[in-house]
């Protein structure tokens, strides 16, 4: 079990490195595809089955195909002749390394167990923002409700207005993309 986690993490990390350091954009995109597959397996193992399915369908199936179309639409010579690395790469590398070590040290030594107890205690008596109305909106607990049912209960209960805002965001994004890519603006 632990070996599987380690292998999955190594797969995700190596593919992420491949995204950043690959020479051709096609290699970057394929590497990112494998990385997203690994992340989807991670979601599946963390009992987020619906999100894992959405990750594979929308990310790996939709967004990556969009990126591949974008790469194909741009002339290959232009991509190959583009200088790969910025002149500020080394300072950025040092900066990101320092950030990673410092913040990673903090994250590693944080306490991840104290919080859920306080949340569980806080949800019982009064209704703090999210949790209680979720349990009110959730389907009645007749046995074990599946993961999509739970996600839908929260998504269309507590987060109905953000859901509508996301649809408006996607509409604006589509109109903006058409406007930007049009021949004559």
């Amino acid at each position: 079990m632990t070996l599987g986690w380690i292998l999955l993490s190594i797969l995700i990390g190596v593919c992420a490195l491949g995204v950043v350091f690959a020479r051709s954009p096609i290699s970057s995109a394929i590497s990112l595809l494998v990385c997203f597959m690994g992340v989807a397996i991670l979601y599946l193992a963390l009992r987020a089955e619906f999100v894992a399915a959405v990750q594979v369908l929308v990310y790996a199936g939709g967004i990556m195909v969009l990126y591949l179309f974008g790469i194909m639409l741009v002339d290959n010579d232009v991509l190959r002749l583009t200088r790969q690395v910025h002149y500020q790469a080394w300072p950025v590398f040092v900066l990101v390394l320092v950030l990673f070590l410092w913040m990673g040290h903090k994250l590693y030594h944080s306490d991840y167990t104290a919080q859920p107890l306080t949340v569980a205690a806080a949800t019982a008596p009064v209704s703090p923002s999210g949790e209680s109305s979720r349990s009110a909106n959730a389907p009645p607990a007749t046995g074990e409700s599946t993961n999509p049912q739970k996600v839908a209960g929260v998504l269309y209960g507590d987060f109905l207005y953000p859901f509508e805002a996301a649809s408006v965001l996607l509409l604006v994004a589509v109109v903006g993309a058409v406007f930007l890519a049009k021949k004559e603006v």
């Binding site: 990390g13 995204v19 987020a48 232009v78 994004a173």
Partner: protein, 99 residues
Amino acid sequence: MSTAAFVMLGFLLFCLGLFGVMARRNFIVVLLSIELIFAGAGINFIAFSALWHNMAGQVFTIFLIAIAAGEAAIGLGLLIALYRLKHTANVDEARELKG
């Protein structure tokens, strides 16, 4: 695997994406690095959702995927526009805010 390991993995993806955004010149690779940052945030959401047994993290990951889809559409529109105007994919060429 503990929550700390998931958070560290998400932070690793964030750092790699940050490096890619700032150090690469190719516009497509910059966009892909932004997707890496999104993936790191998603791993964080799912890890804490599993830790606290709270579905809000999974719902926010779905919102994250929707936002990433919008970002991909706008970014590729910008790429096509940049390629049409300057015949390049180098982000440093896009320094004038006019056609």
